[in-house]
Symmetry: C2
Subunit: 416 residues, 2 copies
């Protein structure tokens, strides 16, 4: 049997408000799953090898619920623009390069390696409109063993001609990708209209039909920017959330909506009733001067919230950095409204490692969970004579990819 024992200091979230700590504990791993947990190894397992990580800390891998793989190569560029300008001046030009599958191969490999390096082993990813380079992205991610959802972008209006799709072709290619990849174990398809303003009504309707026909999840952008919200109103004469909802793109299958800064009361209600997950992308939101997601308010309303690096509007692929920024922005809200408590380390860690269960029940060092882990060596960050919580907090604030010395997904080591 494929049994092994891993020993260390495990930290994980069971819920939004509490961290769990297993100090100097042994996990028995069988076929990639946690079979048992014990302080002392029982006699019957004495013959098994123990992989002992000693004083290191072990946490679940990070989950990135929103990022654009084709924007990887433009990280840190064009940061002096707002959303719509930034799209037109920089982003669309870069995405157009992905008609070249050689370019796609090179950038997507670098992208996947960098995700792994930074401990993000599960991610939900926008590709471009290009079917072939989307296939390459599937293959690259599969090769590295990451668990992902990958969406070919759909976009058939209000964008440069060179990225504007024919509606029928867009739907047909999306369906082909669904059929090709829906039975994948690791990298699966997700329906990905870029956002309402770059989609015709017909495209949205067709995508919603595909979502239901094949039971495929959905990702898009929602209420990121005040101009954009106004624009959607002009285009559809309707509430932004309702535009998606009426086309079966809002929780009819599992749905992620990035940003959610300017939701109406009705929009919040709809997200909650339809169990749509809001993805907070704090770095992107400040870089594009979009605003601050009212995370505490949305949590109080009972929404599920995850985190996204939103590469390339967010510049850092490290989810750790989004965690810190989420806390920081929540403090700016708190400063002016003492009823809206800042986010805690516990809360952002929960968001960053559980990913609102979009990937199922993950992120715990508990029996029946798959063994997914990052081994953190924090010895260069200062004394380790701290509580495990303090060491975790310090790693999140001042550590970097160099502190992550091993990565596991379903019991297998992931390398880059």
């Amino acid at each position: 049997m494929d049994k092994k024992i891993i020993k260390g200091n495990f930290i994980f979230s069971k819920n939004l408000n509490n961290l769990s700590f297993l100090e100097n504990t042994h996990l028995l791993i069988n076929d990639g799953k946690i079979l048992d947990i014990f302080k002392e190894v029982p006699t019957k397992y004495k013959n098994l090898n123990i992989l002992d990580f000693k004083n290191k800390i072990i946490i679940p891998p990070f989950v990135d619920l929103h990022l654009h793989a084709p924007q990887y190569a433009m990280r840190g560029l064009g940061m002096d623009k707002e959303l719509l300008d930034w799209l037109n001046t920089y982003t669309f030009k870069e995405e157009n390069k992905f008609k070249d599958i050689g370019y796609a191969k090179r950038i997507y490999n670098e992208f996947a390696k960098d995700l792994i390096k930074h401990g993000t082993l599960r991610a939900v990813i926008f590709a471009t409109i290009h079917k072939k380079s989307t296939e390459i992205l599937f293959e690259v991610l599969e090769k590295y063993g990451l668990e992902t959802y990958v969406g070919k972008v759909n976009m058939d209006r209000n964008c440069p001609e060179f990225l504007k799709e024919n509606t029928e072709k867009s739907l047909k290619e999306t369906e082909e990708l669904i059929l090709n990849y829906k039975n994948n174990k690791k990298s699966k398809p997700i329906i990905t209209p870029r956002f309402a303003p770059t989609s015709t009504q017909k495209l949205l309707k067709g995508l919603g039909e595909l979502a239901i026909k094949y039971n495929i999840p959905i990702q898009s952008h929602l209420s990121e920017n005040q101009k954009e919200v106004k624009w959607v109103k002009e285009l559809y004469n309707h509430n932004y959330s309702e535009v998606y909802n009426e086309n079966n793109l809002f929780g009819q299958t599992p749905t992620l909506m990035a940003h959610c800064i300017y939701l109406t009361k009705k929009g919040i209600e709809l997200m909650k009733n339809n169990r749509v997950i809001a993805v907070h992308c704090p770095q992107s939101n400040v870089n594009l001067a979009s605003g601050i997601m009212p995370v505490r308010t949305l949590l109080n309303e009972g929404l599920n919230i995850g985190l996204g690096s939103d590469i390339g509007a967010g510049h850092s692929i490290a989810i750790k950095r989004s965690m810190v920024m989420a806390i920081e922005l929540s403090k700016l809200i708190y400063k002016d409204n003492k009823n809206l408590k800042p986010l805690s380390t516990e809360e952002v860690f929960f968001m960053a490692t559980k990913g609102s269960d979009f990937f199922g029940k993950i992120g715990e060092f508990n029996v029946d969970f798959s063994f997914d882990a990052l081994i953190i060596d924090d010895s260069n960050l200062g004394t380790t004579e701290l509580t495990l919580k303090e060491r975790l907090q310090r790693f999140i604030y001042i550590g970097d990819d160099r502190n992550i010395i091993k990565r596991y997904l379903n019991g297998k080591e992931i390398n880059f």
Copy 2:
């Protein structure tokens, strides 16, 4: 003679609004100063060795105008508190450890090395109240060849007993340190009342007298937090800036004031008239939920502004990170007031490399300037087929200490 030629792509600021680029250019360095600049090496220098950095980019080192060396070891801890709570729960306890000179030696060495690693070769630093460990800090910084100002902290009320100084002793020790170090070439003394609330009137008066007697610069904190501003009003029944000003601690000698978030109109006027430099510490300001310095407004008013990491309330010692955060926070202000333009890459680069001339005329690759430089290898950040400005911007946003491959101050390589 000690002449050498350095070749590369040089980027620097001459003023707030423009970057200067010297592509594939040779600098002739003599005794640590730039003697000449040329595209092609003239015949008379053909015999000199050329240190050719090829396609790399070369920028001036960073200047950190506000940070606390004794808080280095607590970076990333206690980030769930506001200023006054954070001081009492975490900071004062950590600073108390510096009565132990063994501890001081260890931490101050780590601190100095980390500054160098991140390209900060000039810094203005708070020590603790302890004279002996302040001397150690002077020695460590001198050993590594950094240019700094170091201040023994003065604090004689409203703090824990274990850090409360006797006023006379505080002044006496400060004077002794001034006499010992004022003729240093590299690390010089600076007068450092922690801030008005932890100083008696008598202490402030005495420190102002020392500043004038020995012509020593001054650093402190000003208007960081709304509670603090109110507290100063209660203690002194006076405007915060005036408290310093009336004690000759506000521009009577060169003065740095950290934070400056909640300045009154009168306070701004006083800073301007007295040429007091405001130090923006964006990371600290969000971590402690203090607020956002109105940088654009203060620039419009004609104030000089520099940047500070404010270790340990700021968690990252990298000034690059403060530059990005300064831009990001300015975008949050801009979002609600379109008259207050976000800070540009040019502006934050100027702040980060010129340091408001607090160290004199630095930060330019121009004749008669000392040769101070960071050699940046950005080949792992993506294509280098970009403009120099784009490469600079990308390094600032997504690079880290690994991209800095060499550091020079006054023509000498600085190692750690």
